[in-house]
Symmetry: C3
Subunit: 355 residues, 3 copies
């Protein structure tokens, strides 16, 4: 069973059900040759039906079979499981390409590894990767092509650094960290001293600490601290093109969507979620579990548990009320002018000089 | 005739007119040594006058000569053509540097090409490029330095992949695709399953399909689909630092300006235009021909043909009305307070104690 | 004295005071083993107290000693100086890692340098860097690993190009320019000619000029001009993931925070400051000294000296007034409805049926 785009080694649906510890239901036992989203699925595809009702209903899907919850109605062969999404994820895991094809084991002869670096049973270092002096890589970690690790870096065990990742001196990566292509870890923070003599660079001598099980999407940047550490807490997931400034501290199990930006020295608690393009100013404190909708602009501290949205960032329902009211604003202006003209006195001139 | 920054082999204006199939007009026939924008042009420069009236008028320009439409007034030697901008573009094409200087033909000896890859009469593979197993590159395509193609990728004919492009396994590029430096194609989509046990990664086993004549600007990221394909339709142009999430489908001839972000599973029709920093939420449908102004935040479906702007995204004229009304809002609050104080009484002091 | 994360060779506080030309005060003379921010500092750390009052007061800090102004009260050993921040910066400069460890001197044997390129006493060219024909690099400049310089580029003296920087043909860098990893200089501007025949690419034959003492943060993109030059003025500082479009002109000593985007042909004066995620439309003129708060969207010219904020961009105090008024808008709608119902009659029920 291996990936051929969306495909797989053909299996009967009943066989897939057995793999997933699910219940096979259906009059027929179709041959499954691929997996797909419900809307994209065609003949031979197994799709899953999530908690959200499908936009076009189940009937419109071309899927040969579906993975559903225990009580969902179906109109075709199906696998019943407790959690369809989790079962789908398990199935996708089985369809992942062979990691030895993506990251051929061993150290490629073109890799430039400083004699003082320690590459401890790393299963893969790709072509043209460069590993600086004093850097240590834990067992089972895989590096793609063109990965650049500066000096005195510590990479934990079973990490995955995709092609074209750059990590600068002194940074610390935990275990099972995944970093996607084009990510830059440990560039200088944006710190200057502005005076009449001009703009003077504040040296940035701190590092970045990336804890266990963090994943960072392609093109994102995490700046080194001025002093001390910029920290990404265990289990946090960072999407693409995210900017994390110097001395930022991100808690555990946070999720930051694409193009989010966090300015220097801000602190996020655990379980914080941001939508895309959210901006967080400097020296801000965001409490545990805060959720911020897409493009929210945060310029003040947010207490734990709040769901915020908008620019300025307000509590979600307040923003929705405000957005609804905004659409009535041009009309409101006219209504007030009308009131002023008619207000309570027989003053024929009232309101006449309104623009 | 070749580029020397803005310059070219010197030609008489009448010679340039002949090259462009234009009409030479003027008492003199100046020697043209460069091309430039109207405002930047100096002696020896040929500039073009577009449909927009020049900010400072034609008279302020230092251009030796201009390319203009058939009926435009001129105060200096000129070339008259039907479409000045198109003629200017044609002239710029002649001034492009020699591609053999930018992408020296042949496969550089440092390129690492898997024996199972097929590089079909590619005219150029630059130094330190890496081409994985099973990858196929069509005739006439040029790859710069440090291009990383993973395994099982298909690149069409006459593509241009600038230095430092990364494409991951299984992705599909059509013909005449241009990809600029730093672009990452096919990184994992941002998909997780969050439960009490933590955040579990959903494997992303789909691919990216980039159709013919697409161009993608530097630093942009296009994520692979969870299953199936993330699609960029033929002829679409993507600017720099744009984020395109997993399973997004973009139609034909779209134009997405810099730093636009599109979250997972959204669908854009044909001919969609976004200004800079536009954000589109997940699972959104944008109809054909929709235009969205800079920084617009789109959180719901937009029917074909609409021009939208703002945050929340509203029809353009409604946003402009709302923005105008917004500026009157603080004053409106005072006016309503005045009305409330004065309502139903003839209070001569109404409004006097406003702040 | 060298960096060990935040650390240094241990020195007595009085010795550090002498290095900084400061006044040592205190009953004890503690051994200083590191520097840190006030809030992060622990035993052995020297911290500085800036102009902003510390969030948690000085007393809460674990710092062994502090750098303070001449008149500030202290509760522990201290160094008194005229400008604590400047003294701290000087101290950090002494703690920078040895540049010969970060950029080992000499040209790495794997660097591919065209015979026609001139590398003039460059102290460092890192592994796998590629330098194209006709490119000139001034004395004292250091290039990290995987730096890609195209053809006919001019790099001045004492520049620092971190690993993974890409500069395309014809671009010009002044002296002491610092460019961080992943930056792309000189990609094609986003210029097309749209007609019924489709979208036609306008060749971009201009260059980028980066003047002395500019610093550009990781992942940022600066597009080459259509004709002429995109210019970054002397001393300007650009943060990470910033997009600068073709033919933009940025003045001297500007500071552009992360994820700012500037569309084509806009002009910034000297000393312009943008917060994070600011967007500036095309063909806009921003005067000297303009400051724009985070996420501001600028669609029209801004005169010199203004401080603006918001979307639409308004003068800062107007935006704050508007934001405050916005929160009252839903209530305002109800107040006006109440006025309309009750206007000019003594209606005891006014407002009772509000939603």
């Amino acid at each position: 069973m291996h990936n051929t785009e969306k495909g797989m080694k053909a299996l009967r649906l009943s066989e897939v059900a057995a793999l997933l510890d699910g219940e096979f239901v259906g009059a027929e036992d179709p041959l499954i040759t691929g997996v797909a989203g419900l809307e994209d699925a065609g003949p031979g595809d197994l799709a899953f039906v999530g908690r959200q009702k499908p936009r076009n209903g189940l009937a419109d899907s071309g899927a040969a079979a579906v993975i559903v919850g225990r009580d969902q109605e179906v109109d075709r062969p199906a696998i019943r499981v407790d959690d369809p999404f989790a079962a789908f994820a398990s199935l996708l895991e089985r369809l992942m390409p062979d990691p030895d094809r993506l990251f051929p084991p061993g150290i490629h002869p073109t890799a430039v590894i400083d004699p003082s670096a320690e590459v401890e049973e790393a299963t893969a270092v790709g072509p043209y990767s460069v590993i600086g002096p004093g850097t240590v890589i834990g067992a089972g970690s895989r590096l793609g092509a063109h990965v650049i690790l500066g000096c005195d870096i510590s990479v934990g065990r079973d990490c995955l650094l995709h092609s074209g990742v750059t990590v600068r001196e002194g940074c610390i990566l935990g275990d099972r960290v995944i970093i996607h292509s084009g990510v830059i870890i440990g560039s200088d923070g944006f710190g200057y001293l502005t005076s009449r003599q001009g703009i003077r660079k504040i040296p940035q001598i701190g590092v970045v600490e990336i804890q266990d099980d963090v994943e960072i999407g392609s093109g994102s940047c995490v700046d080194r601290a001025t002093t001390g550490r910029t920290v990404l807490g265990a289990g946090s997931k960072i999407d693409n093109l995210v900017q994390i400034g110097h001395n930022v501290s991100i808690g555990k199990s946070c999720s930051l969507s694409a193009q989010t930006g966090i300015a220097g020295s801000s602190t996020l608690g655990n379980g914080v979620f941001t939508g895309g393009q959210v901006g967080i100013g400097d020296h801000i404190r965001i409490g545990d579990g805060v959720k911020a909708g897409g493009q929210t602009g945060i310029t003040h501290d947010i207490p734990a548990g709040q769901t915020i949205f908008g620019y300025p960032a307000l509590e979600l329902t307040e923003t929705f009320r405000m957005f609804a009211a905004l659409r009535k604003l041009p009309e409101l202006l006219r209504r007030v002018t009308r009131l002023e003209k008619g207000s309570c006195v027989s003053d024929d001139n009232a309101g006449k000089d309104q623009d």
